[in-house]
Symmetry: C3
Subunit: 304 residues, 3 copies
């Protein structure tokens, strides 16, 4: 039945999710887009992200636990979106902490295997899921707090940048940044927009061109994260920061957040299909396939 | 006669003001808008702001002296706009210093009594006066210098942000910020735009969501003010800063300023009536009336 | 033949340049504009800029050597654009270092003699050359590195701001900034846009209104330059920085750069003819001619 209603595929997939009670602006816009292709129902794993809800504080914790490096596979992204939607629709949940259960890594970003040797349909579904993840997270009505307890390149950095506040472990071995250009690929415009909203045009321009990965102290200096905390104090600090944000009346805070992020969210909603086409055209190039395969080989060798 | 000419109500009200000699761009735009409703002529007090003109330096000082906290009532705003227009039209006046004659407070922002239990007509007139104040100040051809000698929340902060330069007393007990969300209300988009133009998107997003009031040293750190000066040296510093700005040829400085602020000014001019409707719809809500009344009760208790 | 093809005058002039192999986006846009007036072919000097190409590193060095102060005359600009286009079309050239061969000065900016007592045709040609220079430099596919080994006011500062990275000699006697308003003139909107992209809205607003020239240490503090280096180490540093930028795959870096700068480049392309008209109307004013003449007199007296 959900499939027949024309809702975006993630909603259709889950089938059981109630209509959004606190639907953000972009959500409504998406729903109004006519003729969105529906993905066929598919099973998805439900063990890549551990969600714990603290009923008394109203704060949920989402822990990435997809070894070895929390890469953003289609399954991971699907589970992420559904978890996010469930929490968004749970009146008791006012804030979420996003962190990792894997030592030394927050998230390594998009799963490159999803971009290699797959069909156009697969690329479409994958990229739509990446977009969906960002649209939901960046427009969330909940307070979103990234507790970055490990390295966080590319898509992992995007997740952090999309939160309301970023705390990072004070460990110079952990790095963060949008390093796409180092891999010979280009961060999409909405990665860029999100980055510019956090660090400003100049730092974004230099960092994106160089594909810079910043050690935690540099990340703080350039404003990519808001605070550094010794790793053992991350939880304590997260609780304190969350309490500060939850002290505000939800309604005023939510409208304010939406006002600040609307321009950038609207841009992807307006150009979503075009952005998918761009991704497919790019990833289908022989030269890109070649460099991604080479990159994967390199990662495998590194591992063994 | 003025009423018949279709000029905006503030001009109509004063009745005696000559046509702007140095009318800024937005002013012309406003005047071209057809069918602006005219407010009936009304008396207004003329003792909430003390204006002193120094003929030799070409600098006027506007001192807020509306006890207890220089709140921005309709009368205050009307007087502010008319004083501003008089100075704007005075060829001898090239710069203004805006400061407070009330100890420890610059301005407490919008007068909440104007938003409680009043008629739609009153809300309309009040909100139009708030807009008018900002349009005139933000687009002023004069050099505008805020000398912030006390706390300056919400609308008080907006006045400071709209000036060309901000000096604040070096006293951590004085705070400044757009703290609307703490009261359960939302800063309008043009408060936000003005804030972003001063501190950038990231600091604005965090500060507006949290409704942060920054002690003077923090305000300097985040760029909300340009300089801190011991309170007893404020006047001396103000004179020096003003002299520096007046050393520039007026014409080039004015065109440059207009170029920098045009986008944001144009946005309110284009959405002015819509913004008034939003304000009325918001302030008319039972829940908002209730929280504003509660807030006023709290203030009264605090005082006694 | 080139003249008949409707290409912009700089291309037409050179006559021998091959069609761009790596034509940036704006270039294509410019070429599509119908009815661009063609300047008559004219000779131009070819000794104001010394270009050296290092074949092994793929880095060219452009040294300004137009005494006394590397001012941007029509001849200088023409030579600059043609050199830039040649390098842009040279597959072996991946990066350029822009610096000065004249002690203590990087470039003094636009040549005022080109703006005094000349014909409308001359003003048109001059201003189009200024635009062309910026369009080519700001959109260059090459890595562009400004090595600022002397003072760099106005148009000189614009050249530096248009590069990807700025290193300045650590000498407080060298200043940099867009000081147009000090001369009673106004920096065009695209100077402003370029400046805002580097230092943000607030620093740009204050600096442009005051026409601030910052000594090197201040320039670093406000983000106008990225790094200060003792003058004798500039070359060594430039090589290291260039190597860092060239380590990135060209294609990804170029698309990223174009994504970051497109909005601002498109704005001038869309308003190019209007901008020329504005310049002519401004520079033709008696009052402006008078102040420019006075300024030139002052410079002459200073010199003697």
């Amino acid at each position: 039945m959900a499939a027949a209603s024309g809702l975006p595929h993630l909603i259709a997939r889950s089938g059981v999710l109630p209509l959004c009670r606190r639907l953000p602006a972009w959500g409504r816009a998406v729903r109004q887009l006519p003729g969105l292709p529906l993905a066929p129902c598919r099973a998805f794993s439900n063990n890549k992200i551990q969600v714990e809800m603290n009923e008394s504080s109203g704060v949920a914790t989402m822990k990435f636990k997809s070894p070895p490096v929390n890469s953003l596979s289609l399954d991971f992204l699907t589970e992420f979106c559904i978890s996010l939607e469930k929490l968004e629709n749970d009146r008791a949940c006012r804030g979420i902490v996003i962190t990792s259960a894997i030592p030394k890594i927050f998230s390594s970003g998009l799963d490159i295997t999803e971009m290699c040797g797959k069909s156009t349909e697969h690329y479409t579904e994958f990229w739509r899921a990446v977009q969906e993840m960002w649209l939901r997270l960046y427009s969330s009505n909940m307070v979103t707090l990234a507790v970055i307890n490990g390295s966080s390149p590319a898509g992992g950095c995007l997740i952090a940048l999309s939160c309301d506040y970023r705390i990072m472990a004070e460990n110079p071995k952990y790095t963060i940044g949008l390093n796409e250009s180092q891999l010979g690929i280009v961060a999409p415009f909405w990665f860029k927009d999100t980055f510019v909203n956090v660090v400003g045009q100049r730092v974004a321009e230099r960092s994106l061109q160089l594909g810079s990965l910043y050690p935690a102290p540099e990340a703080l200096k350039f404003g990519i994260v808001d605070e550094l905390v010794p790793e053992e104090k991350l939880q304590e600090k997260a609780a304190a920061v969350m309490a500060q944000w939850l002290a505000l009346p939800d309604h005023a805070r939510q409208i304010t957040k939406s006002m600040m992020r609307k321009t950038v969210l609207d841009r992807l909603v307006a150009h979503r299909e075009e952005d998918i086409k761009n991704f497919i055209s790019f990833v289908s190039k022989e030269s890109i396939q070649k460099s991604l395969l080479m990159y994967m080989e390199m990662l495998k060798k590194k591992k063994s």
